[in-house]
């Protein structure tokens, strides 16, 4: 049996563009992960509550509405309140580069912009989860970026 990586894919806020969230969810499943999909129009509170109860390793949020600054900081704060900061928060959507940098500083693990191959997301999560189980002391290990689609590492779990 052994440990499976569990990821919560959530669509917070009002925007209904769930194409990206669904494609990523399917790709993570096909990479052998257990994906909990929350559906649309979730509040930050219900996303964090679900993440806690499902004991996920990663929360992935898709935001295309421009509300990313508000939503990510809210989620990070709620995780703190629940003593669940080990849960890694990542995201994707329409987010300006400048905001991406700010968010990563704030504690968001990584942000994936449009055009990111799903394999890059899979690799990144795998590497982080791997780092977490191997060296429990290290909080967050930044995975190497594999911008190019050609470089596709396969990691078997």
């Amino acid at each position: 049996m052994g440990k499976k990586i569990r990821v919560l894919v959530g669509k917070p806020g009002l925007d209904g563009h769930d194409r990206g969230a669904k494609v990523v969810a399917a790709a993570l499943r096909d990479a052998g992960m257990e994906v909990i999909y929350t559906g649309l129009h979730q509040t930050c509170e219900s996303i964090v509550e679900a993440a806690v109860q499902e004991d996920v390793d990663v929360i992935g949020l898709s935001i295309l509405s421009g509300a990313h600054m508000t939503i990510f900081s809210k989620v990070l704060n709620l995780l703190k309140k629940r003593h669940a900061t080990q849960i890694l928060v990542i995201g994707g959507g329409i987010i300006p580069l400048e905001d991406m940098k700010k968010l990563e500083k704030m504690g968001v693990g990584k942000l994936f912009g449009p055009g990111t191959p799903t394999t890059e997301i899979v690799d990144w999560i795998n590497e982080c989860a791997f780092a977490k189980t191997e060296q429990p002391k290290t909080k967050r290990v930044k995975a190497k970026k594999s911008r190019k689609i050609k470089v596709r590492r396969k990691r078997k779990k």
Binding site: I36, G39, S46, A50, V52, Q53, E54, H83
Partner: protein, 315 residues
């Protein structure tokens, strides 16, 4: 143990993490520690074919029970993809009413495709929820083939949900769903064909009814609108009372415990066999000779098991 205290108090993060440990590792230490605190929760299974509205039913039932001030644990099982080993667990989407309720804990589980292992895992996860102080544990599974039979093994009352769609009842009988049902729900009861489905079901259940002391009730619901849910919960309640009154509750649970112990023994023997008696690579070698018909499987099996079952020789 702070951890145990937190778990018994139902602290959600602790409960969640305990479930993960139980689910991921074969380690039974935690279960040993919490077992004495379990046995109080009533287990209800909800199963049925895809699209029967199971999650919506669970959502509605839980809302009813909440009104009665009960604590509810929900386990929603979805199949693991046999190709990737991954799973998409989407049942929470239909349980948004419950998402932030203090007295509800929802956990999605992937079947992880282990042979017969699902019942075991579900049982273990249910034990954790039981220990955390739940009054009811609702277990939702898709009814296709083996899975729901496993689940019936865990539950006190099994609810089978069907919808009026062509051929549904025939499918249900084929899948053996009706065999395990204590209560039958015809959901989406405002749809065409509902009454004829109920007729068919009544006919099919007649035979079973004569044998058991329990008449198999059929409840019509429209779960999305909450119609019929009160009656459903009352029906489940009366099944519970029937079980207690007739002495079947204790009998069934003892039967289940016996089964559980048997399974644990089997599990232990299997791993013992693999680890200490005959390793896989050794077996490979023997198989070559079996393949050449120089040895036969029956003899080999006897020889191997005799290595463990010294007892038998002594007799």
């Amino acid at each position: 143990m702070i951890f145990l205290k937190k778990l018994l108090k139902g602290e959600k993060r602790t409960v969640a993490q305990t479930i993960s440990v139980v689910e991921n590792e074969g380690d039974t230490k935690i279960l040993e520690n919490i077992f004495k605190y379990t046995g109080k929760a009533y287990h209800i299974g909800i199963t049925g074919p895809p699209g029967a509205g199971k999650s919506t039913l669970v959502n509605a039932i839980a809302k009813q029970l909440l009104e009665k001030n009960k604590k509810i644990g929900i386990i929603a099982v979805d199949p693991t993809s046999p190709f990737s080993g991954g799973a998409l667990l989407g049942d929470r989407v239909r349980m948004t009413d419950l998402a932030l309720k203090e007295n509800v804990f929802i956990r999605s589980m992937a079947s992880r495709g282990s042979l017969g292992g699902l019942a075991q895992k579900t049982k273990d996860v249910a034990l954790v929820l039981d220990a955390s102080g739940m009054d009811y544990i609702l277990i939702e599974t898709i009814g296709v083939g083996q899975v729901e039979l496993d689940i019936a093994q865990v539950c006190d009352t099994t609810v089978v949900a069907l919808v009026p769609e062509s051929g549904d009842s025939i499918q249900a009988m084929k899948a053996g769903l009706l065999e395990i049902a204590d209560v039958i729900v015809v959901n989406k009861g405002d749809r065409e064909g509902c009454d004829s489905l109920i007729m068919e079901l009544k006919f099919a259940l007649d035979l079973r009814q004569q044998k058991a002391g329990w008449h198999y009730p059929i409840v019509k619901t429209i779960a999305t609108e909450g119609v019929g849910i009160e009656e459903l919960v009352a029906t489940i309640q009366s099944h519970k009372e029937y079980l207690k009154r007739s002495g079947r509750f204790e009998k069934d649970r003892k039967e289940k415990l016996k089964l559980h112990i048997h399974e644990l023994i089997e599990e232990k023997i299997k791993s013992h066999l693999k680890e200490f008696v005959i390793k896989d690579d050794e077996l490979e070698k023997i198989i070559n000779r079996v393949y050449e018909r120089k040895l036969n499987p029956y003899h080999i099996a006897d020889e191997i098991t005799n290595k463990i079952f010294k007892v038998r020789e002594d007799v």
